[in-house]
Amino acid sequence: MSQVELHKMKKLEIIVKGEDLQFVLDLLERAGVPGYTIIHNLSGKGSHGFHEGHLLFNEEDVLDMVVVVTDEEKSEAILEGLLPFFNKHSGVVFVSEVMVSRLQKFKTS
């Protein structure tokens, strides 16, 4: 069996209201993370899809989660950036240790 080399990174799971998603993504862009994953419509509302027309006016009334994996330094900076925001807005951040292979995908020059 071949050995896969794993590296330690930090994973941030940021859950915010739909209307605040853009702010979070903007912050991540400025932090210079190479990528992130967005999971939409956590609340169960709005997951009715097309046929019920719920989403018609309530696009902001859902929860989204952004998952980003990055190094310790960046993740700390991101948390510092999010702190004032979460003082006034609902949402949470979970920080966990995670291992990744293909380190180059998670680092920027």
């Binding site: 853009q22 702010f23 903007d26 912050l27 400025r30 932090a31 210079g32 509302k45 097309f50 046929h51 019920e52 027309g53 719920h54 018609l56 006016f57 309530n58 696009e59 902001e60 009334d61 330094e73 960046k74 700390e76 900076a77 991101i78 948390l79 510092e80 950036g81 999010l82 702190l83 004032p84 925001f85 006034k88």
Partner: protein, 979 residues
């Protein structure tokens, strides 16, 4: 903390500071919104208080104006008395106060001159006690004034104005969209970097975040105050700040892409400018210094402010000036405090004695003073509630009479919920029983991204809170040509004409890009030259055809191929000077660029070197965007064109169900959007259809009608339980709200019988239109028309007169939103002031349609209502002042005079008549016809509406048709309302 962390943190803080800024939309799509939208999660009461702080805006009319409304009969005196009685808990007090107010509406303590006994001195002395003064000054320094304002009030300087002017000039220059003759250099580097280069000729700071943090630290502002201080700074030029906020959240806006700006940039420039300007004055200007001054030289600070804010006791002006010159304010202070206390005491004593006498009150003066101050806080709310209750009563009484009505009609007519439809609908119904009218949001439930031939970019025709997912294209003419050939012709035409223009290849490609200027990666493309060109290519004639069907994959591929083909022809001539290249070679080049084949012998075939071919291919990919990535993008964009039959059926079903029109269809169903016409009116958009994003509703009407007439759609609807008979035809129309004319479209394919019927309908509509115009003209200045003919001429003139500052009253006067069957309001003269949305609860067992109506159209109605409300209570601070002084800035907005903040809100002419309020500020009275428990269920699921109701931004009333009772939401509970 790392550098990055610090930068991200300041971004976060600026974001929070900017949240209270009102939304901004460029003038060309003016949309009404609640100026206090950023504060909507607060109760109305708290929000307006903050509004006073940030906007310096009043939320209530003056006492004089309230009394006038009462004297005009708009407010029932009984309700005012009730409100007063509730407040005082005492009939005599209430009566006394009321009598005094009615007799002296203009009187205030400030306007009284009286020499009194000093009986109220103690109250004021308490306030003027040194430690209290210090406390107050500290609070002002920390959270009520910017540093520049504080300094100005301290030393009589004009630093704030100077900073404002410099910022305005720079903003106007930087944010210019192609109008300016002289272009600001360095714009591509961003707002802050450009300013930095121009001010310091070098890069002092690496980023605007660094600069802003530096400035805040330099000014010694403690970190916990950063957010509030930055917010105060933003509000000094809230128009420009709001615009910058809008720009930074629209990353794909063309101008934002090339010349980026955001609030951090703006604040960095602002604070550094303040530091520069203040340093020149040579006075204390940092937070640290000012804090010290307040702590250690409280008396001096106080006295200086008294002078500079005009609060000083008039007789003591010279004395105070002397004291400040001689620098012994601390000794003088207690003497001044005593004098001021007496001064204020005298004014109040004079005022309250009058109140006591005329009101026949038996209460001693100190008690009366305390009571009056409490009363002052509450007064505005009391009048407001009395006004609202007066309107509620009138409306509910009318509705109660109609509770048992049921109506059917030969011809159904769908109008927008806009208040202006009410007059027309009423006149039409009175004219003939054959018409059954319905109210629905003017986009008919179909959000559309529309690409008009002349415009070449996407316009969202739907309420601003939604993003449409389908694109509708306008095609050249109504001949039945296969779409592909037509699109092919168009692209050819564009390219031919562009060749003779000085546009660069970049613009050319973008311009043609995706045939009709689809937003590339979602951006709006707006260069003036290109827009002008398109207008020349497609002069407006008669209405064109709309493409609302989906393209097949083959069609889409063919379109993209055609486009690429044309581009290569263009490129061959421009780059290589080659003309008339055979088709097969062009195709080869295309496929090489797309990496589908190798280039092989192509260079030889073209008669050029391999080098040049490589170069050329490279150009095709980079400049002309013929590559795999863009190919995919184009196809994705084209996939958004049109609707599938199921999508069409979905929209039609939803719309019809939401208004309760699912059976008994007549021969004609008229689908009538609305728009207005005026000349020389930057606010034109405000008079158009809000539900269509500030545009005219005809496109949505045509799209909806086409969908509803589609045979396949009707099949699907049938399978879902809605049977539209074959003899029913949907016909789109446009109601011009300035002239009350209605024009019908797409009528060529109607059968003879229907055409005849339509002719009769047109006659009826003409009569109804004239009656409506006559009604409306009575409310307009110079509109005293005696006959319908006169009225018709009058309104037509208004629409084309470019000096007319008030082409129509628009939505002025709006006060209520009724959701229910038309029968409830039929026959009631609502004076064109009520939004009417048809709704049949029996067709909505789960309440989903009601949820849609409340969170969509009703929400937009609330925004409109709030815009008019605040623009009336304080036109200078919440509205945009007089139109007469407006100067249009590019296509963004208006300023007052030559250099001012960007104005937001409505101009005075929209809400005032001869200096008096024409619009009456009333929080929207929403009436819903549905069982109470259904409404409660729906509210549970819609937070935005629940918030509005709970925080008292709207008055929410339910008419339960099963219990036949009215319920109002009051202080957390549903209370039955007797009518």
């Amino acid at each position: 903390m790392s550098k990055l962390g610090e930068r991200l943190k300041i971004r976060s803080i600026v974001f929070l500071a900017g949240e209270a800024l009102p939304f901004f939309w460029p003038m060309r799509t003016f949309t009404s919104r609640n100026p206090l939208h950023g504060l909507r999660s607060l109760p109305f009461r708290e929000a307006v208080k903050l509004g006073e702080k940030y906007f310096k805006g009043k939320a209530f009319l003056s006492r004089e104006q309230w009394v006038e409304l009462l004297k005009k009969g708009r407010i029932k005196e009984e309700f005012v008395r009730e409100e007063f009685e509730k407040f005082f808990g005492d009939k005599e007090l209430a009566e006394g106060f009321l009598r005094f107010i009615l007799n002296n509406p203009k009187l205030s303590p400030q306007s009284v001159n009286f020499v009194g006994s000093g009986i109220l001195k103690d109250f004021f002395k308490e306030e003027l006690e040194l430690s209290r003064v210090r406390e107050r000054l500290l609070r002002i320094l920390k959270e009520e004034e910017t540093l520049s304002e504080f300094v100005d009030k301290l030393y009589g300087t004009e630093i704030t104005d100077e900073v404002n002017e410099r910022l305005i000039r720079f903003c106007a220059a930087f944010l210019d969209e192609g109008q300016a003759v002289f272009e600001l250099p360095y714009r591509e580097e961003g707002f802050f970097k450009a300013w930095q280069k121009l001010s310091y000729s070098k890069d002092v700071f690496d980023s605007s975040e660094d600069a802003l943090v530096f400035a805040l630290k330099e000014l010694g502002i403690p970190e916990e105050l950063w957010e509030e201080q930055l917010r105060l700074e933003l509000f000094k030029l809230r128009g420009w700040a709001s615009f910058i906020n809008w720009r930074s959240s629209n990353k794909f806006y063309y101008w934002q892409q090339i010349y980026p700006v955001d609030l951090v940039d703006y604040l960095a420039v602002r604070l550094l400018t303040y530091i520069d300007v203040a340093k020149e004055e040579g006075l204390p200007f940092t937070y640290k210094e000012l804090f010290r001054l307040v702590e250690e030289k409280t008396e001096e600070v106080f006295l200086r402010r008294e002078l500079n804010t005009g609060s000083v006791v008039p007789e003591l002006v010279e004395e105070v000036e002397e004291v400040l010159k001689c620098k012994n304010p601390s000794e003088y202070f207690s003497h001044y405090a005593e004098a001021k206390a007496k001064f204020l005491s005298d004014k109040w004593e004079g005022y309250l004695l009058k109140l006591k006498e005329e009101g026949k009150l038996k209460i001693d003066l100190p008690k009366l003073y305390k009571l009056y101050r409490r009363f002052e806080e509450e007064e505005g709310f009391m009048w407001l509630r009395a006004l609202e209750r007066s309107y509620e009563e009138r409306l509910l009484k009318g509705i109660k009479q109609n509770v048992d009505k049921v109506k059917k009609g030969e011809v159904q007519a769908l109008f927008c919920i806009d208040v202006r439809s009410e007059r027309f609908r009423r006149n039409l119904e009175e004219l003939s029983d054959r018409y059954q009218t319905f109210g629905i949001a003017g986009f008919f439930g179909v959000p559309v991204s529309f690409i008009e031939l002349e415009k070449g970019h996407e316009t969202y025709l739907c309420p601003v809170i939604i993003r449409p997912k389908n694109v509708v294209l306008e095609l050249m003419d109504k001949k039945l040509e296969p779409e592909i050939e037509e699109l092919h012709k168009v692209s050819e035409k564009i390219l031919k004409d562009l060749k003779n223009n000085v546009l660069t290849p970049y613009i050319t490609v973008e311009a043609i890009g995706l045939l009709f200027g689809f937003d590339m990666i979602g951006k709006t493309f707006f260069p003036l030259a290109y827009a002008k060109l398109r207008e020349k290519l497609f002069p407006k004639k008669e209405p064109r055809r709309l493409l609302i069907d989906k393209l097949t994959k083959e069609e889409a591929v063919k379109i993209v191929e055609t486009l690429q083909h044309e581009l290569i022809v263009f490129a061959l001539e421009k780059e290589l000077g080659l003309k008339s290249v055979p088709y097969y070679l062009i195709d080869r080049l295309r496929r090489i660029a797309l990496e589908e084949i190798e280039d092989g012998e192509t260079a030889k075939m073209l008669g050029i070197t391999e080098e040049r071919l490589k170069e050329f291919i490279h150009k095709l990919r980079k400049v002309y965007k013929i590559d795999r990535g863009y190919q995919q993008l184009y196809l994705e964009k084209l996939a958004k064109v049109g609707f599938t039959p199921h999508e069409k059926a979905f929209f039609v079903e939803n719309a019809l169900k939401s208004i309760g029109l699912t059976e008994n269809f007549g021969k004609l169903v008229l689908v009538i959007g609305h728009g207005s016409t005026s000349e020389n009116n930057p606010y034109e958009s405000a008079l158009d259809c809000g539900a269509c994003g500030g545009d005219n509703g005809i496109v949505n009407a045509r799209v909806f009608s086409a969908m509803a007439n589609d045979k396949k759609v009707r099949e699907i609807l049938r399978s879902r339980g809605i049977e539209i008979p074959d003899y029913t035809y949907f016909v789109p129309g446009l109601h011009n709200t300035t002239t009350d004319e209605v024009e019908f479209y797409d009528t060529e394919d109607l059968p003879e019988e229907h055409k005849k019927l339509l002719e009769e309908v047109k006659k009826d509509f003409k009569v109804a239109g004239r009656r409506t115009a006559l009604e409306r003209s009575k409310a307009m200045p110079l509109g005293d028309c005696k006959t319908e003919e006169e009225a018709e001429k009058f309104v037509k003139t208004n629409s084309v007169d470019w000096t007319q500052v008030r082409p129509e009253w628009g939505l002025s006067g709006n006060y209520a939103f009724v959701i229910g069957r038309r029968e409830l309001t039929e026959g009631l003269n609502l004076e064109g002031r009520v939004f009417l949305h048809s709704y049949d609860y029996r067709k909505d067992p789960k309440g989903l349609l009601l949820e849609t109506i409340l969170s969509g159209p009703m929400f937009v109605g609330h925004w409109i209502n709030m815009e008019y409300f605040f623009s009336t209570t304080d036109n200078e601070n919440y509205g945009s002042g007089s139109k007469v002084y407006h100067n249009v800035v590019g296509r963004i907005g208006v300023m007052t005079g030559n250099w001012s903040d960007l104005r937001m809100g409505l101009p005075s002419q929209t809400v005032f008549l001869d200096g008096k309020p024409f619009h009456e500020p009333i929080r929207l009275i929403v009436v819903v016809e549905a069982p109470l428990n259904l409404v409660q269920l729906v509210l549970k699921g819609v937070q935005v509406v629940r918030e509005l109701v709970g925080n008292q931004w709207i008055n929410f009333i339910v008419f339960d048709p099963e219990q036949k009772k009215f319920f109002k939401y009051l202080s957390g509970d549903w209370k039955e309302v007797g009518v």
